[in-house]
Symmetry: C2
């Protein structure tokens, strides 16, 4: 028997059965181009409207404020460049944090290269952006602040309401990447008073290849993808209707089941951490102890390399990520753990366990059992462990 346990839901999720069910007819029955005026087009457009409504409702936005994109990366690229280029007469200072997703950080780096002045805000040891720090750097020259709602590697949730209030009081644009927070946190764009928000489908049991950018009515933003007049003339390209339909359904289910899902994954996650502590010594849980997404446990192991743990867990059919999160193909050091001040020798020793809606206690027991063996084995052969033992 080859057992498979997927504990990498922060990287991507399977598509929920109900979601897939709604998508299927859109591939070969209601397959029209949503921009076409004939009945095939109108039928597709009706489904698109419904999907847009569902995504809007999930964050208390108007449907006309939701623009579908090909995913979170496009939405983050677009939000930042689009807001900056459309509002760059005011100044040339932009702000983000050191723990953002690469699609945010790389965009800021490109803008820095173009001549914008960028502040990369530090975070504390729990991954929290300090509000006083932020207030200190805001100036009349600041165009945009972009700070993620919750972090994808360690799960830390920012004081996003307070941040937004501070930024908006100064009349500065505020964008938040809510990809990892969406479906786990109640998000209300009206209450939050955010100008733009990035959402993605494939982290909430919807299909890959679709995301959305919320842009508050009246906020000026330059287009990123240009051509046809799709998405209220804001995002060109034939709309991916089946994926939008799936995303809409996934958003609806996520909101409906949020409490139950969170309770379940949090219980499992906490059980996992307790068991981990009971069975394995020399571990460190990263991220805020309380203010943290319920389905993520980011753990550093003394003396042993995260990649080795990951590869050995994989031999037992268990899928996890090293610290370097979403694009785990990268084996570069985690900039998130670095910014949080995790000691260099521990950064590489880190594994992110992220639980799904269908993870079971029994699976967790299996993982703990395997992990105990693996950690012992790796520590036994680790030159670091040997040195430490010798020194004692």
């Amino acid at each position: 028997m080859e057992r498979k346990v997927f504990l990498d839901s922060a990287s991507t999720t399977y598509v929920n059965a109900e979601v897939l069910q709604e998508m299927l007819p859109v591939f070969d029955t209601v397959y029209g181009n949503a921009n076409s005026l004939h009945n095939f087009g109108r039928a597709a457009n009706e489904l698109l409207d419904k999907a847009r409504d569902r995504v809007a409702k999930a964050i208390n936005a108007k449907a006309s404020e939701i623009y579908f994109t090909s995913g979170g990366t496009e939405a983050n690229n677009w939000a930042i460049k689009g807001l900056v280029y459309a509002n760059n007469l005011k100044g040339n200072h932009i702000i983000t944090s050191q723990i953002e997703h690469d699609s945010v950080l790389e965009t800021f780096k490109e803008l820095e290269h173009e001549g914008f002045r960028v502040t990369y805000l530090p975070v504390d040891k729990n991954g929290i952006v300090n509000l006083a720090n932020l207030m200190h750097v805001l100036s009349s020259n600041t165009i945009l602040v972009s700070i993620m709602t919750a972090n994808n590697e360690v799960g830390t949730i920012q004081h996003i309401n307070a941040i937004s209030k501070t930024v908006k009081e100064k009349g500065i644009l505020f964008h938040t990447d809510a990809v990892q927070a969406f479906s786990n946190l109640k998000i209300d764009v009206k209450e939050l008073n955010v100008d733009a928000m990035t959402l993605s489908s494939h982290k909430i049991y919807g299909p890959k290849g679709i995301g959305a950018l919320y842009v508050k009515r009246g906020v000026k933003i330059k287009n990123l993808l240009i051509g046809g007049s799709q998405e209220f003339s804001k995002r060109a390209g034939t709309v991916n209707v089946p994926a939008a339909v799936g995303f809409g359904k996934a958003a609806e289910l996520a909101i409906r089941d949020m409490k139950a899902t969170n309770d379940k994954t949090k219980n499992l996650r906490d059980y996992f951490i307790r068991e981990l502590k009971n069975h394995i010594t020399g571990i460190h849980i990263n991220g805020h102890p309380i203010q943290r997404l319920p389905h993520i446990a980011n753990v550093s192991f003394d003396y042993i390399d995260g990649e080795s743990i990951m590869l050995m867990l994989d031999l037992d059919g268990i899928a996890v990520s090293t610290g370097a999160a979403c694009s785990s193909g990268d084996t570069k050091e985690s900039h998130v753990l670095r910014a949080m001040g995790v000691p260099t020798e521990l950064i590489k020793n880190t594994i992110r366990f992220s639980f799904t809606k269908r993870t079971t206690k029994e699976e967790i027991n299996y993982v703990i059992e395997k992990l105990e063996v693996i950690v012992k084995k790796l520590r036994d052969i680790s030159p670091l462990t040997k040195r430490i033992k010798k020194e004692r």
Copy 2:
């Protein structure tokens, strides 16, 4: 009985059953992030590799030269901006034609706005770019030429080999938008010696939301979407594996069945035009009489508005486009017909009929029958017809 006939395949196609079959397990079984190193990720990545191979093979490229995008629009935006920005030390002159897709034209307009000098080459009455014209404008200051392989509104096929040869002899970069040509024409990027080529899935019976950019090995291109290291670090964002799998299969089937499909749709198209001429007077077929995609018939009707024809056909369950093609939501005048010198009074009077793999002769008879009635009805109430009759 509500009858439905789809004659708008140049706008989008249904997903072929075999294609959908290959995609299904990728939604909820092989759902890993293709960038993850564990078994879920590797399984997804294997499917992605296979899909990339299939797309590459369809145009005789190497797999490593194929970069998946969210569709044709992104690929066109990326190709043009990416090639220009990465090679702008050489000069500031760029060339395209007046009949390109909006995602090409809008990108050239944006570059023009940024200070690049743009030549929009004219076409003859059949929609063909004149090679002498092109040679005349090429200079040592020219960075890029982008000319589509075949036009999406009228179906005219360019002398793309001769164009490429001319451009490449001068050491200038050449890009072609092959979205509408792909699956209808044998395309060999090696033979063509093109630097970049845009492809799309949802015009060849594959899913929406996926396309590809071919970039010849060694050609420098700046990234458009930035963040993670996906797609050989050329295009960030979690790869849409199910859609890529569908695209790969659709490409494979398109090449396998090309001759049979072309023969079939060309026969039907030609039958349609013959019948049209037999039953309706005052019609004009646009596009090159011979050098033209087999599944497109672009027809102008004397005295009556294309949009009215389209809407009335729609009442009979028949889906067609007005001249303004892909994003038929636009009712703006066709820039393609304008460039071809179609008289102003006829441009608005145009319908594009584009046939699918499953269009039947019987459907065409039904369309002709309905069209005859509609055209008569519209002409009877047309003030233009009345004026013409009076003048006689």
